[in-house]
């Protein structure tokens, strides 16, 4: 599903040029659950942004679903993104002025789904995330775990092929964190590809494969024992 080859990304200030990604290559197959780990500043987030089509690489190739997307303009990227990729963030990133229902509905609005269908799909996903009873609440009225469930609901409402999760449990206590990880596992079992950036070895164990990075490069790639057959 995803093939990146010699991916490069630089950040340049007036005096220093920092290499964020240094000729990084790997593949992710459809249906995989991949964890990306590494210390702060190793380039994890940059990678996630490029994979999520939020940012453009400075070199190398990025093939998404058989299409070379490196060099796409913003409009094309936004288009591809809204139909194919869902995001889950550490800090939830819900819009405070919108209710739970409205937050989840938003991606459907941007992809042009009709109101009646939107309601059906949002209700279905809220039901699935067990947050239906909170549909009229605003984000600040929810606990962290509930907010992240809403965020996950929003990420999946469009039935994306790929979910990118950036430290999804970072702001949660362990029981809420486990709940979210269980949710992601369920989604993965239902066929969604997941790439997750995390600091937590505990969370990484939920994945099939761990990619460890340092200074913009892949250092190791270990497939967890029970998934070796995949």
């Amino acid at each position: 599903m995803i093939t990146i080859t010699d991916l490069e990304k630089y950040y340049a200030t007036e005096e220093v040029r920092t290499i964020a990604l240094n000729k990084l290559s790997f593949k992710v197959k459809e249906g995989e659950f991949v964890a990306v780990m590494g210390p702060s500043g190793c380039g994890k987030s940059t990678l996630l942004n490029i994979l999520g089509l939020l940012d453009d690489p400075d070199g190398g190739s990025f093939v998404f679903n058989g299409i070379e997307v490196a060099g796409f303009n913003e409009r094309k990227r936004a288009d591809l993104r809204k139909h194919n990729i869902g995001f889950v963030f550490q800090s939830f990133n819900l819009i405070d002025e919108l209710t739970v229902f409205e937050n989840v509905e938003l991606p459907l609005i941007y992809t042009g789904v009709k109101p009646a269908e939107r309601k059906v799909r949002v209700d279905a996903v809220l039901e699935k995330m067990q947050i239906m009873h909170r549909r009229k609440h605003f984000p600040q009225q929810l606990s962290g775990g509930q907010q992240q469930r809403v965020a996950v609901a929003r990420a999946v409402v469009n039935n994306p092929k790929l979910i990118l999760a950036d430290e999804p449990t970072g702001n949660l206590d362990s029981s809420n964190g486990n709940e979210v990880m269980d949710l992601l596992t369920e989604l993965n079992e239902a066929g969604t590809t997941i790439i997750m950036v995390t600091h937590s070895e505990h969370d990484a164990k939920y994945s099939h494969r761990i990619i460890r990075m340092l200074d913009g490069q892949k250092v190791t790639e270990n497939v967890l024992a029970e998934f070796k057959s995949v």
Binding site: N49, L54, A78, R81, K82, E97
Partner: protein
Amino acid sequence: MIKNYFKIAIRNLWRHRGYSVLNIGGLAIGMTAGFLVLLYVGFEMSYDSFHSKADRLYRLSTDIKTPSDKYETPVVDWNILSELESEFPEIEMSTLVMGTDIDVKVGNENYTENRSLAAGAALFQMFDFKLLEGHSKTALSAPLSIVLDKTTAAKYFGDGNAMGKTLKIMDGKYSVTVTGVMDDMPNNSMVKGNIILSISTYTEVIDPTLKDSWANFENLGFVLLNPETDANVLEAKFKPYVEKIHGEQMKSSNMQLAYFLEPIQDIYLYSDRGSTPQITNIYIFSIVGLFILLIAAINFINLTTARSVERAKEVGIRKVIGAQKGQLAFQFLGESLIICLFAFLIAVGLSMLALPYFNELAGKVVATSIFAKPLYILSLLAISVFIAIVAGAYPALVLSSFKAVKVLKGKFSRSSKGILLRKGLVVLQFSISVILIIGTFVIYSQTYFMQHQDLGFSKEQLLILPTNNQNGQEEMQKALASNPDILSMSTSSSVPGGGGEWQTALSVLENNMGQDQSLTLNRFNIDENYIPQFDIKLLAGRNFSKQFASDSTEAMILNEKAIKLLGFADPADAIGKSFEQWDKKGTVIGVIKDFHIQSLQEEIMPLSMVMGSGDNKLLNLKVSTQNLGKTLGFIKKYWQEYFPNKSFDYFFMDAFFNQQYKSEERFASLFLNFALLAIFISCLGLLGLASYSTLQRRREIGIRKILGSSAFGIVHLLSADFLKLVAIAILIASPIAWYGMHSWLQDFAYRIDIPWWIFLVAGILAIGIALVTISFQAIKAAIANPVKSLRTE
């Protein structure tokens, strides 16, 4: 999607209620002010435009050139209109219009109608004054006919039965018949009165010699031209014709007359014949209105862009989810539109509430309802939409181009461009405010100056009775003399400020070279008590005296201005010089110090005083301030006894004279109100910006405090930035204000020098107001617990 935008907009407004109140409130107040100015300007521009034949109506006016002076008058003499009309077929119709006051007796009730007119039969055919009863062609044709407006008809006769009734006018001397009832004349009409007497009453009944008179300038003259006539071409034909028929008379009287046509719609705005053209005031108010609207719009832009940073996260999320740049821009524009329409609705409400006060402030009924002219409301709506687009464009463009990654990662930094823009706009706002503050100071100083300047005569305690010098006056004077609270009495034709009858007379006087010099002089008929009573200083010679019988025919007193024109440096040198004026011929017996007979807006004119009798229609009483009510009652009693056909009428000299400054006072108070509004709205904006920037720097403030900064240091930190802006604004505003007010003052013959301290005071005021506004926020931030502010980050 629109519903989603709408929802988020409303929730945003609600969540940040404080900002919303500042934002929408400021905008609404600004729009209200702008709207009222629009109504005012619209009203002023509409003068005399409601006549269906307005494009063919002209006022005929006369330039009078004497050997010494040239007068550009708005008036014509009694016969020129009919002469021109019969000679030039281009003139379809014409009428004289005389403004006068007429006393009216209905049954046993006496009324004095100060706004009376006399006009010719063509009036109702030329102008669109609506006649409710009577025939437009004939209502004013016969002598002793009178047309009343609806209000006056109701006042005299109750509703609906005035037609054909008889009234007594002019001390009961004439009986006139009501031949028409008209609608009350519109407020935006130059020709305006409550009652209209047929002008043939004057030429046929009151004074038949008027028909043969020449160069007796009393009336306005209006002509209706044929549709194809070019007024300029016609005007050019007047000169040779007038030369032909009046050449001899002009030569013998040393007076050259020239006639001009002024389009009726331009008179109020542009003509300086007999009135001040209003166009300057209209410009000033338009600019002030635009200023206020601009200030309000700037507030809106500033608050919206400043707050836009808070929306960055939302933008990031929406982008991640798949929003296109255009969709986001559209969302923010839409939001701005919602706010502006909100403000528009509030402005409409505020305008409705404010209109009666505004009418009062303006001194005229500018509009009876804000919906009277739908076009204005639509203009306001258009302005709101325009502000929405301008104010929404910046955040729409900036926000929609945020990089989602950066925003969500918190790497987003406030763009320095946006801050610079806001600072620039704050400078602009405060510049405007400071200009208005300085303007207000100057206008008030000038008004104060005019009202408190030594006029050269004493206007206090003077009670003026327009007795018209009727039979019985002498007896009444004798009776009044018995009252000790009446300190002195005099009679005259005129008093300063335009009271009574004002005459100008072409006179021939001996100058310092011993030659006869022609000079046009103002002429007051007075008696021997007038000069001491008005406290006018005698510089040389003597006052009139009953002891010299010849004083009433052969003596004249001149003011300084007149003897300067004759070339005398020392007043004493003018004494004994010869004069000729109308029926009088004699010598100058006295020279008085110049005193202001007109408002200080006008230059002092050369003045002659002669002893009169029949022309002295005013009885002037100096009264003690004690027992004033009792004294008035005493006078009234004798008035009713000696003048049973005349309603009791009087005025106080000081109030009467100051009435001339009414328009300046009004101007000043309108200006003051608008300046206050401008400052208020600017402060609203500053308050919003200050609280916002305080919020933004909360972390910085926390760190500084932990590192040991005092509360004062924090206040200083937060205020200094804004105060710098205000200081720049003062520097920009001062020269502009100086220039503007300097030009404004040029219209006044006697004016103040703009004192330097006005700029200082305005500056201190602006800084003070700004400081109070900012420190409110700054102090709050400075005394807050730093730990708390750091934790919330």
